[in-house]
């Protein structure tokens, strides 16, 4: 059984009028690529910033590799890499200078070699000035600085923002390779499709609360169906009360649409005697399943 590398217990962070996170509980196992999805402002970055001790929890606690994120933050950071969503590097430095500066904080003998390998992979000229770099190139530098000390855990906050598709593919391949060597990846994104490409498990965060932690496959295979019924005349007013209807049905004229997780025979029985023009039962896309949790 794998050890827990990230262990978040009842974590709450509130600040002023802005909503933070509330009662977040989450466990990430060592060696997995874990997805953390939610729309902008849902609390993803707040959770990550507490993990990195950029901000302090209002209540609850979090541990990384068994170490407390507040008390042992330096020890944690020496074994963790982080790619922030914005790559705001020091503009007066050149790439090589920035990476050497970063390397100076780690006790590693292979840093130089690692920088060369990664710079080559991402086709970066280390002599270039940071102020002249595009967002995509700054992101590449940010990725390199997160990996130069061979971290055990890599925390990514919207890491593909600004990367072109080719570099994105190389980056994903690099993550898979590092993961095979043992590195755990905590991948935060608002795009389910990219999380789906890499991750085995995913946590969905909504309005500062974790609403579901699930295997990607389970999420896909859940007996959730997208039902659309076109009635002859008015829609059935009693139908929304049926157990298994997961959301408030969307009614457009005489058509009713909803997500259904109950027994299909119960639905058919309920519709007995109703005049129906058309009815479709579909497997929803992963994106629709995701959106369903938000609605």
């Amino acid at each position: 059984m794998s050890a827990t590398i990230i262990d978040i217990r009842d974590l709450t962070k509130t600040y002023g009028k802005d909503r933070g996170i509330e009662g977040v509980n989450l466990e990430v196992e060592e060696g997995e690529i874990f997805g953390f999805i939610g729309p902008n402002g849902s609390g993803k970055s707040t959770t990550i910033r507490v993990l990195l001790n950029l901000i302090f929890p209002s209540a609850g606690n979090a541990k990384i590799m068994g170490l407390d994120v507040v008390r042992d933050s330096k020890k944690i950071r020496s074994r963790t890499g982080y790619v922030p969503s914005d790559a705001n590097l020091y503009p007066h430095m050149d790439i090589g200078e920035f990476l050497d500066y970063c390397l100076g904080f780690y006790q590693t003998h292979e840093g130089e070699k690692r920088i060369s390998e990664l710079s080559e992979l991402f086709e970066l000229d280390r002599k270039r000035k940071i102020s002249d770099l595009s967002m995509g190139n700054r992101k590449k530098v940010s990725i390199i600085q997160s990996l130069l000390h061979n971290p055990e855990l890599l925390i990514l906050d919207e890491p593909t923002m600004g990367l072109d598709p080719l570099m994105q593919a190389r980056f994903f391949e690099l993550l898979r390779t590092e993961n095979r060597k043992g590195m755990t990846v905590f991948f935060s994104s608002h795009t389910l499709s990219e999380v789906q490409l890499l991750c085995r498990r995913v946590a969905i965060i909504k309005e500062g609360r974790i609403i579901r932690v699930e295997d990607i496959e389970t999420l896909r295979k859940r007996q959730l169906r997208k039902i659309s019924i076109e009635f002859d005349g008015q829609t059935d007013k009693e139908l929304p009360g049926l157990q298994g209807i997961e959301d408030i049905p969307l009614i457009t004229g005489s058509t009713m649409q909803f997500m259904y997780s109950g027994d299909i025979n119960d639905l058919i029985a309920k519709l007995r005697g109703k005049k129906i023009i058309d009815m479709t039962i579909e497997e929803p896309s992963l994106e629709e399943i995701f959106m369903h949790y938000y609605n």
Partner: protein
Amino acid sequence: MNKNLFLRELKGNAFSLLIWTIVITTLISVTMSVYGTFLENNSKILAMISILPEGALQFKGISNIDDLFSVLGFYTANNVIYMLVLGSIYAIVLSSNILLKEEYNKTAEFLLTWPLTRSEVFNSKAAVVFLNVVLLNLVTALAGFISMEIAQREPYSVNAFLILSLYTLLLNLFFGAVGLFMSTLVKRAKPITTLSIGLVLILYFIHTLSKITDSLSKLGYISPFKYVNVDTLNPEYRLEFRNLLYFTAVSLLLIFLSYRLYKRKDVYL
């Protein structure tokens, strides 16, 4: 303290230190170079100065016109603005930005996620502030000393000059501590350069006002300039314990509070 961060900050702030040092040194040297001419034309200058309002003289730290005819009095009067005010502005601008710039430039997302404690970040950056302030004071005081040695016509008290230089250093370090403290109070990171410069100028203005207006004399106590004794020609001139205690205690208290606040500060980016 972290050596890597300390050296990087030292390098990053070297150019600004160089510029400030050149500017203040040039101002001191140029001012002192006119001392000879000043003495030769004393009657004309006296007539000119005597028509100035008392406030204008006090603003430059001149309480007795006759003091201007000794090299130390001339140096003291003319360099109050350069060293006390400009030096303090340098110290507060540097210190109020050194921590905060990582937040408003959003580079804290790197620096504070590398293996460093908040204490190491604070100590390394505070050390750079105080070292730069000491270096600025050393070079400019040396420039003042050389200028006086060249310009002097009669002996002056080197001891009084050293005490004035020490007062200047204490005041500049004090504003260094004020800047650090102010920056740790800022919640949503943005530069506070204007506020910092404004604070130095307002405190200097309050000090001047309290000297020329009897009814406002008590107000002067809120200004640190009040605790800098510039009466260098007074035979009793010395580093007063009360003033030394004020600068040391308040500066240390502000540094301690800044350290505690920064260690628990939420860094919003």
